[in-house]
């Protein structure tokens, strides 16, 4: 009876699927299938902030420049440019086309950038446009959007004026907020730009051809793309949206998806058992402990911070707590991969290594105790309910108790509330991370200036501020980096924050797909250089 029931169930399942056959349709041609964690929340490039939207935009649109296979800036819509101290001129290629056949012009960039800084747009990423002249004033409503320092000299020449010298401006033009938007089309959508495939224009390697909200997305090769001959993938299918790590592993194992973009600590263990083809990529995000430097907080005491740094064991932390192969213990504020003048920044400006030294830590602790009036009060570690957050908190609880005899209370909040408390300064220690926006040390260095909202610990050092301001004002590359390096030295000496690690991502790809690029900036993962190898 039971056996018959099972047979009946399977038969029902098959008959229900007979239209498509009881076998999965094998992907024909150069098709890649992947899963998303969620639906892209915003495909209007003027407003998009998240990684999923960034992935789609990076495949369907193209800015003045882009990141090449080696991670360097290459021409995209702009075929050439001329960079000056306080401005630049971009020459656009005439063959660049929108998906409706009309040319991509300099006016499209002017309109897009004005839209970004227009306060009515309320773009969260408007700040990335602030190096352009008047952007900040426009965003504050003090000037009209037309005052933005960008001009179309003709259809194919774009001239940009900077607010101040900006050595990394070229990198910014590859950022998604700098993508072009065509005025007449954008306005015709009445606020719905990016809401559906028909409400968007494409000038990139792919076009969004299907978007079943929350259920399926299809990106198809865009025949109108100026460099379409280079694109070897015909279609990217995204038929699954889930945040469940086991579900994507099951989908991958069953051959339903070709790529697992990121595996967490626990997923890696299972992927090892399943013998997936795994690779590690150091994606560049720096994780660090923010100390609360506000008045009256024990962590505003430099000796206490030094004591904590002197007991922190980076390699131990990486192996015991992070547990993702490829992760590097953090030693500096500017990550190890950041380019300097010729060599990596960290070889041009090395920082002294800090090894755990409980003796020295206790000496610092004594000093701290004296200055804090005899006792070190209980400290608060603010955290959230994300994966790994509890392990991280418990490690620091153990570390401080064992080596310094300090009690650490864990304050666990939901993510939004953790952010709110970070901003309000309601913590002593909190873990933070920062992924780079562009390929210049400044993307990290300005984080700890007194005017940066991301400096949640409100560390304030006049010398640091002055050095960063100097680096921002000068166009001389050597002087800039010298200033940034000196600023880093001060911040490390004062233990403004405690660098913990530079994160790596472990991912898996099927045997079918080759040439997928992983990037620290720009579209990640990038399928525009990928191709499909048919299985025998």
């Amino acid at each position: 009876m039971r056996a018959r029931a099972v047979v009946a169930l399977v038969a029902l399942a098959c008959s229900a699927g007979t239209v498509a056959g009881c076998r999965p349709e094998p992907p024909r041609g150069a098709v890649v299938r992947i899963a998303f964690a969620n639906d892209p929340p915003e495909l209007d490039s003027a407003k998009a902030t998240d990684v999923v939207s960034g992935f789609v935009l990076g495949h369907v649109n193209e800015g003045l420049t882009n990141y090449g296979p080696a991670g360097d800036i290459i021409p995209a819509v702009a075929k050439s440019w001329e960079l000056r101290g306080r401005g630049s001129t971009f020459r656009l290629r005439e063959e660049a086309r929108w998906s409706d056949g009309k040319p991509v012009t300099a006016h499209d960039f002017v309109f897009a950038w004005r839209t970004v800084v227009d306060p009515k747009t309320a773009s969260e990423y408007a700040f990335i446009m602030f190096p352009v002249k008047n952007a900040e004033a426009i965003n504050a409503g003090k000037l009209p959007p037309e005052a933005l320092g960008v001009k179309a000299l003709d259809d194919h020449t774009l001239e940009v004026q900077y607010e101040r010298p900006c050595a990394y401006f070229l990198g910014l033009t590859a950022f998604k907020t700098y993508l072009p938007l065509r005025e007449e089309f954008y306005r015709s959508r009445g606020g719905r730009y990016g809401a559906s495939p028909a409400d968007m224009l494409y000038n990139g390697p792919f076009a969004l051809t299907r978007w079943d909200r929350g259920a399926a997305i299809t990106l198809e090769k865009n025949p109108r793309y100026w460099d379409a001959a280079r694109i070897r993938i015909d279609r990217i299918d995204i038929p699954y949206f889930t945040t469940d790590p086991n579900a994507v592993i099951n989908l991958f194992k069953d051959g339903n998806i070709d790529y697992l973009a990121g595996l967490g600590r626990d997923s890696i263990k299972r992927a090892q058992v399943e013998r997936f083809r795994m690779k590690s990529f150091d994606e560049g995000t720096l994780f660090y402990v923010d100390f609360n430097h506000r008045k009256g907080r024990p962590t505003s005491n430099v000796h206490l911070r030094r004591a904590i740094r002197l007991v922190f064991d980076g390699p131990q932390y990486v192996s015991k707590v992070v547990g993702v192969p490829g992760t590097r213990p953090g030693t500096s504020l500017i990550p190890h991969w950041m380019k300097g003048l010729e060599a990596p920044f960290h070889t041009e400006y090395p920082v002294p290594a800090v090894r755990p030294d409980p003796e020295a830590a206790r000496r610092e602790l004594e000093l701290a105790r004296e200055e804090l009036g005899g006792t070190i009060p209980e400290l608060v570690w603010l955290t959230d309910d994300g994966p790994g957050a509890a392990r991280e908190a418990e490690y620091f609880q153990w570390l401080l108790k064992r080596h310094l005899g300090i009690e650490l209370r864990i304050d666990k909040q939901v993510f939004q509330q953790r952010l709110a408390r970070m901003t309000a300064g309601d913590f002593d220690l909190v873990a933070a991370g920062w992924g780079p926006d562009y390929a210049d040390p400044m993307t990290y260095a300005d984080l700890w200036t007194s005017w940066n909202e991301n400096n949640r610990g409100r560390w304030k050092n006049a010398r640091y501020d002055a050095l960063i301001r100097e680096a921002l004002e000068t166009a001389d590359p050597r002087r800039r980096l010298d200033a940034i390096a000196e600023a880093q030295r001060i911040a490390l000496e004062e233990v403004a924050v405690l660098p913990m690690y530079e994160r790596a991502t472990v991912y898996a790809e099927s045997k079918r797909v080759r040439g997928v690029l992983r990037r620290r900036f720009g579209t990640d993962p990038d399928f525009t250089y990928a191709h499909v190898v048919e299985e025998p």
Partner: protein, 314 residues
């Protein structure tokens, strides 16, 4: 009858209004900030966003605007999905959850009645014990365990078979729905089995059952025509809330099986403090629940003619 329905609907509206007000107050008193982002905003950018969502206005004004819009059936724009209205999201994703829910309720009711009846008939014997063991498992083991196990089993089955016997996840065909619906309905099925069993046991020794047996009716006919009909009332009672609960989405099942239902939006909205989504979905869910309870009350009259739904003497 019509008056009764109108009265119930009126009370329902009032319930939803109180629910909306309570949600508004609670949501705004929950610590946290809907505009907090991992990347901090400059005060200016934040001010621009607050203006866009009307958060710069006093709470009372926000409440008024929100009630006025709701009266017109407009729940506003989602905070996290900027170009989608909450109405769009409900319109698109509720049918998915509802479809899955109806399917799983079908399993749950059918299974619950059948297993409950079987257990009652086998009372005290091995079959009863086994069924009750499954019931306890079904009620106490959370659905994410079943979901993960079922999906793992499907994956192994497909890999072993060399082709997709049952899809591991996704949405589209009846085949995609089969396992998620079973998993989603399992808890309800177990609950209904238990309910059905005990309520059958109550009627099993009633005089009319004995009379029917004395008349020489077959045990099957007695069960179907006399016992089931009388025992099913409690099942109908819980069905109303169960329909509302299941059809508005099993968050876990939707995540595991990558189903584009409303459940995940619900949970995400709360996690991200997406004000408009929380309000819209709570009111929608509340209204749906109220409606289902009214419908079930009306259904009593059909199931059991002795019950007069209007309260008048029959």
């Amino acid at each position: 009858m019509l008056r009764y329905v109108l009265k119930r609907l009126g009370a329902g509206f009032l319930t939803v209004f109180f629910l909306a007000t309570a949600t508004f107050v609670l949501m705004h008193s929950v610590p946290g900030d809907p505009l907090a982002r991992a990347k901090a905003m400059t005060p200016q950018i934040r001010a621009n966003l607050e203006a866009k969502y009307g958060l710069d206005k006093p709470k009372l004004v926000q409440y008024g605007v929100y009630l006025a819009n709701m009266a017109r059936g407009d729940f506003g724009i989602s905070f996290t999905q900027q170009n989608r209205t909450v109405n769009d999201i409900i319109r698109k994703h509720f049918p998915v959850s509802a479809k899955l829910g109806v399917f799983s309720l079908f399993f749950a009711t059918l299974g619950g009645i059948a297993f409950g009846a079987a257990a009652a008939r086998a009372r005290g014997r091995v079959g009863d014990g086994l069924l009750m063991l499954f019931v306890i498992l079904g009620i106490s083991v959370p659905s994410f365990v079943f979901a993960a196990l079922a999906q793992w089993g499907m994956t192994e089955l497909n890999v072993w078979a060399g082709y997709t016997v049952i899809p591991v996840a996704g949405w589209g065909s009846l085949r995609h729905m089969l396992v998620p619906a079973l998993v989603l309905g399992l808890g309800s099925m177990a609950f209904l089995t238990r309910l059905m069993r005990s309520s059958l046991l109550e009627v099993i020794h009633q005089d009319y059952v004995r009379t029917a047996a004395a008349k020489g009716l077959s045990p099957r006919r007695i069960l179907v025509a006399h016992q089931l009909r009388n025992a099913i009332l409690p099942v109908v009672t819980v069905l109303g809330p169960a329909i509302a609960a299941i059809t508005t989405g099993g968050f876990v099942v939707e995540q595991v099986f990558a189903i584009p239902g409303l459940g995940r939006y619900f949970v995400q909205a709360v996690q991200q403090l997406d004000y408009t989504m929380i309000m819209g979905l709570t009111v929608f869910y509340g209204a749906f629940l109220v409606l289902m309870v009214i419908l079930v009350d009306l259904a009593y009259g059909f199931v059991d003619p002795r019950i007069s739904v209007t309260g008048a003497r029959a």
